[in-house]
Amino acid sequence: MSNTTQLLRFITAGSVDDGKSTLIGRLLHDSKSIFEDQFSAISKTSEKRGMAAVDLSLLTDGLQAEREQGITIDVAYRYFATPKRKFIIGDTPGHEQYTRNMVTAASTANLVIILIDARRGVLVQTRRHTYLASLVGVPHIVLAVNKMDMVDYSQARFDEIVTEYKKFAAQLELHDVTCIPMSALNGDMVVDRGDKLDWYQGPALLELLEEVEIDHDVNTSDFRFPVQWVCRPQTEEHHDFRGFMGRIEAGEVSVGDEVTVLPSGSTTKVKEIVTYDGKLQTAFAPQSVTITLADEIDISRGDMFVKSSNHPPKVEKEFEAMLCWLSETPLDKNRKYLVKHTTRTAKCLFSRLFYRVDVNTLEPHEVDKLNMNDIARVAIKVQQPLVFDSYEIDRATGSFIVIDEATNNTVAAGMIA
């Protein structure tokens, strides 16, 4: 395995009826990522249930708690690798809590596979999945037109679906959409190309997953470094050492660069970039490093370093965002919540609810309360200023979670406008 194998995180959106579990099973099986003991377990179950062939969808079967109580747990993570890349699949079951689950899984994904049944074409749920993918800013979208075997592998049918889908997708800001015809059941165009879809010239699914360019998915231009932890060893050997530990969320930084510490606005120079493996001249996102500075400035967790020469982030106590409500308890406009943004947590208040988006039609509706799975444009006031970019520019510094102090639950996910 080469040393530069990358890590691609992707999710699948679609219901069981679209063949989602079969697709994941097929991907794992044909890329030889299924172990014999797993295969023998699902073979036994298939036989018990009287099936003629091994049902690959059983690979994503749930926990005992799910089977017994007829519930599904929102996200399961699966792992497989090819010689070219390592993959993390965020597998979300499609059911009534879909918005919440998909937003959760998509928040860390580079790519989403949206499944369509070729017989049924573009449905309301296809639009919903696509809207959520665009809302959460997943950089790459694959429209998997599945069950092509049920429409005689018809190119005309595929073209018809693609035309309709692209018309819809054009309304949303989607930069990279690839449409692939396939049959997960028969294994056509998933890992192997098969011999039924010769008219299709594009990549098979796995080929695309291996080749899609993900280096530019993070903001590479503007340096952003939220301070996580201040390191003061206070030992004889490192008596005066004062390092600021954190992960570079965007851009890069070099020794000698002038940095501004926000929200205070003090400036200084980078003295050293320290890691366990030695000092670096330059470091870049998403490395976790320790930075020492030329001057003694009062800095604590929650502050952010930016490069003085870069485009500055905003430093505000009030901002607008798209909010996805995740909790069964509706939003209460009279209550204060906590917002956790990068490494800073502050009290917050929802000062205005502008509109709710109908995820099926994309139409805005008037709103005065938010229920679970609702998506709305809101205005937020925070007790201390946050240092942020818009979500569109930087997923790391443009996102936040909302915590209910009474229950300590995570009740909402926010994307700063």
């Binding site: 395995m1 040393n3 194998t5 990358q6 890590l7 172990f35 014999e36 003991d37 377990a41 926990l63 005992q64 799910e66 109580q69 519930i71 747990i73 929102d74 996200v75 399961a76 993570y77 699966r78 792992y79 690798a81 890349r85 390592k86 993390i88 919440r100 937003v103 959760t104 928040s107 860390t108 996580q228 932890w229 390191c231 003061r232 060893p233 030992t235 490192h238 530990m245 954190g246 992960r247 320290v274 366990y276 493996d277 670096l280 001249q281 870049f284 998403p286 490395q287 976790s288 943004h341 990068t342 490494t343 997923r395 790391a396 996102s399 936040f400 979670i401 300590n408 995570t410 996910a413």
Partner: protein, 301 residues
Amino acid sequence: MSSHIFTHLDALESESIHIMREVAAECKNPALLFSGGKDSIVMLRLAEKAFRPAKFPFPLVHIDTEHNFPEVIACRDKLAADLGERLIVRSLEDSIKRGTIVIKDESKPRNPFQSVTLLETIAEFGFDACMGGARRDEEKARAKERIFSFRDEFGQWDPKNQRPELWDTYNTRVHAGENIRVFPISNWTEMDIWEYIGREKLHIPNIYFAHEREVIRRGGNVIPVSHLVQPKPSEKVEVATVRFRTVGDMTCTAPVESTARTVEEIIEETATTRITERGATRMDDQTSEASMELRKKEGYF
């Protein structure tokens, strides 16, 4: 690192460091669970990467079943001493003496009882967060568990009542009496662990490498002979060349037949093996399809 080549191991490493630093910054009294096994040895190196040149802002804690392989315990003590970090060991024997664990059969695995001593240790020191080296690729209950996994006063995991985990903004808040288990290497696979051990040249117990050992074959499993597992009159002791893929309770951890004597050879074997890590080696996980899920609900890691 001078060029912009960022490997998958670099990505996983940075994610784990970020998680450990969040725990240190936001939890009042965390601990790192350290057994001397390969995954927890990787955790130790990640903690060094996260916090050096300072000491770890938490102690290492081991819940000793006293059914461990002596080589693993020796490695645990040596690594903790070499790093100069504080190691707290609490034994199941203490809980047995207190009467909170009742053992019926000495030769049976003690994993189910580990939760009792772990919860007693959490209470003794008032830990609000315990970091562990569990991975999601190990088992399907773990595949559905969060990186920050909340436990109630009884240490129970409720799979259907988990907090959504978005981006890498972790909600670390707990009420008094509750605590969190944190799994910084959730997204690592067995292969990633071995590649990292190779890359970092980590010292691991020698029983992970191929060696000759007295074993018996029982119910399709190869079982190491020890003071806890003696052959029945009908069973034949043979000497096999084996290595361990996991090192747990001696009574239920089966070695695999292997001639891999170096990390490189293990990586090669791992790439071509057709059996999962736990499927091959953990007899306690074979007893029922849901055995790990049930143990976790009772407060297991």
